[in-house]
Subunit: 283 residues, 2 copies
Amino acid sequence: MKTYLDCIPCFFKQALFAARVVLDDEEKIKQVLDRIGMLVSEIPLHSSPPETGREIYRTVREVTGVDDPFAGLKAESIEKVLSLYPSLKEMVEISEEPLETAVKLAVAGNIIDFGANPDFQLEQDIQESLRKEPAINHYEAFKNKLEGASEILYLADNAGETVFDRILIEVMAKPVIYAVRDRPVINDATVKDAIESGLDKVAKVVSSGCDAPGVILKRCSEEFLDHFKSADLIISKGQGNYETLSSEQRPIFYLLKTKCSIVARDLGVNQGDTVIKYALRGN
Amino acid sequence: MKTYLDCIPCFFKQALFAARVVLDDEEKIKQVLDRIGMLVSEIPLHSSPPETGREIYRTVREVTGVDDPFAGLKAESIEKVLSLYPSLKEMVEISEEPLETAVKLAVAGNIIDFGANPDFQLEQDIQESLRKEPAINHYEAFKNKLEGASEILYLADNAGETVFDRILIEVMAKPVIYAVRDRPVINDATVKDAIESGLDKVAKVVSSGCDAPGVILKRCSEEFLDHFKSADLIISKGQGNYETLSSEQRPIFYLLKTKCSIVARDLGVNQGDTVIKYALRGN
């Protein structure tokens, strides 16, 4: 997905939120925005938003001097969802179609996002996401594809959401490569966050090699690209991964909750809708 | 009111909206945002938002080459509210307290704003504003002050809202100086817009001498400043005028609908609330 002009005000909003997580000196925070102001003319509209997001959050790190502004919020999210794990797991197990419930839960868990939507209410939003039907629902295709899949690549998004991913991986009961960001960016999961969420018990956790809030293939490691090319099923979580991969012709299932109007429009759905979309099929 | 850091993403949003009113070439529109990006580091947080708004809309004019991007929308708003004039006038006349109804209508009409809140639904929002009580309500003080007032200065805000102002001025039945922006900025009323709304029939229409979306005293004409200093009652419409005048110790009544969370917070009310606030009194 390309960068829309509407993404530009949002970059400032996100930078401001991130800077405020670690600073309370208004003048110092403004320096972050000043620096991002200088970046605007260098944003190519043909690139995906996470390409710019990468620069934005690098600027936040440089000006604040804090390498992982969201470390505390990430730890809290993981702890919170781990505490819900037994009840979520039970919800899946007693449901008529455990795989479908686990997929829907994994989509619902995508609400944890301190970039596009920091005002989420975890438990309330999850219940709401579970109640409504996905606006694009390729679950049947997912179920069929999964049956024959032997090499599954799972592209993680946010810390905490990782625990929902773990539940889905447990239900899938297949070997999974779980790929995370190479270094902290927003509240996206890194190897450390994945391990703290227990993903290492159910999958092989790897770094994508990329430090953007998405999967920018040209910035990924050779090891990751090998997985990306050979996987016969790819599960891509969240907006950032969709934004960077939406034009790829690979067997990708995008599992996400649309948290901004721009991604929603790109997908042809409404903001707030949930989506289970197969890349190799139409809507 | 000072500029809050949250105003900065909003400046980009407003510039984008304004540029899109007259352009549909994305690359050209991006040039507006590029230029505003360069301005960020020059925004002093101690100045009021309309100081920067002035620069933002000047940039929009320069890059688009259109002196009054909102001319069409302004004419539409005026025409629309003029068509409602007979029914609004009747609503006031048959009400138990015509002055109070006219004040509330004047506040409700402040919803017409293509800067802070371009997604308004005129008739629906007006009905809603009339239904709810103002979060700050110094109407009794206004009524008392008006009784003894002989020199009234009325600071206009948006084109179209002007027609609501006219109804209030008709009910007040006192000599009024009606001050508007010196040149087009957002959809704020100019002398032309005031005359098209019929204000010249009920007040003396003057320019403030200032081309910002607010009243920046140091940029106002001597003639306007004389009125500002000598008036025994000043009615200030909208957020921009509040933002520029909120620390002035003059007999000002701020009549507005809060359309952004920042102004709402500054006033100690909720976004969407209506306000009738007397500057020389507490909340």
